[in-house]
Symmetry: C2
DNA sequence: TTTGGCACTCGGACCGGTCGAGTGCCAGGG
DNA sequence: CCCTGGCACTCGACCGGTCCGAGTGCCAAA
């Protein structure tokens, strides 16, 4: 459709605009890039690009800036994901290697992403629904009070208090604990409900009520905690975008406080393949001049959660995508090892 | 020192400036407040107040704005903490009452504070050092791998993986678990080290290594996790302060990401009494035009953690202090009940 | 001690002119 | 047919000057 050279012009416009934050004109373009043609030619190409909706001018007789559609084309066809430099890789490794537990991994990942991309980083905790059970523990805190502790293969721990309908003996407790674990350890959370549904029947009448209660709390935990947790960081990077400031930053900060919104943003990403949402594609008012770069990560082949960055549509896509991908991969490795 | 009327003038200046965000002049003052004197008199008073360092003018022939010292005087002598309105109180109660666990309480508290004060809210999780032990649990995940779970009276749960030097039998494990709990349950975290130091001796030689390891992890957890956790919210409120924007907001966002800095800010507050740090009193560059209002809260008489808000020195101190105090009290009640 | 008057200052808004980057269009040349 | 150089035009940014008004400090009088 568009000639090779016109694509080249678009690429040049995107690169220059991302670098300078100023509308870029035909003359400046020919000076900074070896396009091999004169400004006049570039002007014609620009006119075509504008006609097609890839670029626009803020006001008459100013340079052009890419539209969302322009960025989209750039990301899809023109941009190669930029691999990180050696030192950057090493920094990732050494920084993440010293994490001590899951919280720490997530916290470090957020900081890392924010620093590498100089943007706002968002990391989702490994999701329960795609995890498997490592261990279920029942503690007796009081005669009729138990605590349920659930440990996932990704190291996440959830706990719940349980008030029992009747006192529950230590032997019954040990029995339940053992049977529960033998059935669910190593299984996926989604499979747990059917695996345990007949458990109460195998207990004596006195204990059935309590066993049922425990199981219902367990299942409730699985469902409730599917509502995923997030960690964000690097919000100070929002201030790097000058002029039209409060207008831009405000809705972004608000969106960042709404977990629901964030989860939706990340969630739209297809499993494990990198997703880039540009400007209006986000379909959340306030984020219309914002792009989201997200990717799934996981301890095995399958993605257990997502991470990504949020930044202005005018961002360094190749670099950002490279950083996001690299971090996601290494976090996956870390999780697999632990 | 300062006459009654001059104090009144200062109060009027602070109130007007907080409301309008604009330097306030003598004429406007006499119009808005019934001071009973003419602008000229007010001018004289202002000259004195400026001489004493309570107010300043941004440029010659502009109105006056309060200095940090002026705000300090206002807070100490002139401002009455403004109690919340009935509906506000009810809102607090109903919003916090529906919290389901500690995380939820903290999360809701942050949102509440941010909404009430329209500023950035910071809530510290109940501190471990002032908590007591509700339960210690040891789980055997693998022959030589244990998990330590620590439950506090405030409902906080910490867990740690332990790699044992040698396999540890179930009976030994049960034994250790029982002895550990009998010694530390109900005791303060700070007392735990001496309560358990002689435990290894009472075990057989084979197990002593493991017991020591477990204890060292336990103690480590107590120390490490004394490094307290925080939750913040309402950062979008930072955008409410117009003009000199990026310069102001940037360092604040940066500081908010540094837990250490925040903890220091809250930490400076004396136990349970409300503390207000104004501008330069914060002694952290970047927060010099920022004030911190903090107060301790706790389930009993004693404060187990702090909460507060961070905002511009130009803030509504009476209202903010009222909201902070009210929220802290009610959170304390909630914790005491649970 | 308060008050009204007065001269002075200074920042902000407004206005008009200039400058330059950038555009669109067109005619000529490979 | 496409590229190129030229040309007229547009429009925002910048600069300097003027005006206005809010606010001040000082002073003499009540």
């Amino acid at each position: 459709m568009l000639s090779e050279r016109r694509l080249e012009v678009l690429r040049a416009i995107v690169q220059d605009y991302v670098g300078t934050e100023e509308p870029v004109g035909s003359k400046a373009l020919t000076e900074r890039h070896r396009l091999g043609v004169s400004p006049a030619t570039v002007r014609n190409d620009m006119a075509v690009l504008e006609e097609e909706g890839f670029i626009a001018q803020p006001h008459t007789s100013a340079g052009r800036i890419p539209t969302d559609k322009g960025y989209r084309l750039f990301v899809d066809k023109l941009a190669a994901v930029k691999p990180l430099s050696g030192p950057e890789r090493r920094a990732i490794h050494s920084f993440l290697d010293s994490a001590v537990d899951l919280d720490d991994v997530v916290a470090r990942t957020v900081r890392l992403l924010a620093q590498l991309t100089r943007q706002v980083a968002v990391v989702q905790y490994p999701s329960l629904t795609r995890s498997t059970v490592r261990h279920v523990e029942l503690l007796s805190l009081a005669p009729a009070r138990l605590m349920l502790v659930l440990i996932t293969d990704t190291g996440r721990v959830e706990q719940r208090m349980i008030d029992c309908p009747a006192p529950f003996g230590e032997t019954s407790l040990a029995d339940l604990r053992a049977r529960l674990n033998s059935r669910v350890v190593g299984r996926r959370f989604t499979d747990v409900p059917q695996l345990v549904q007949d458990l109460p029947e195998s207990f004596e009448a006195d204990d059935r009520g309590t066993v049922s209660t425990v199981l219902s709390v367990l299942l409730e935990t699985l469902v409730e905690e599917t509502e995923e947790r997030l960690m964000i960081g690097g919000t100070a990077n929002l201030t790097r975008f000058g002029h039209d400031f409060p207008l831009t930053i405000r809705p972004v900060l608000e969106a960042l406080e709404e977990q629901v919104v964030l989860l939706k943003l990340l969630g739209e990403a297809k499993d494990s393949s990198m997703t880039v949402r540009i400007g209006h594609e986000n379909a959340h008012e306030g984020l219309t001049s914002t792009s989201v770069v997200a990717v799934g990560y996981g301890s095995g082949d399958e993605a257990v959660a997502k991470l990504g960055v949020v930044g202005p549509t005018r961002m360094d896509y190749p670099g950002t995508m490279g950083a996001v991908r690299a971090v996601a991969r290494y976090v996956g490795q870390i999780l697999a090892e632990s």
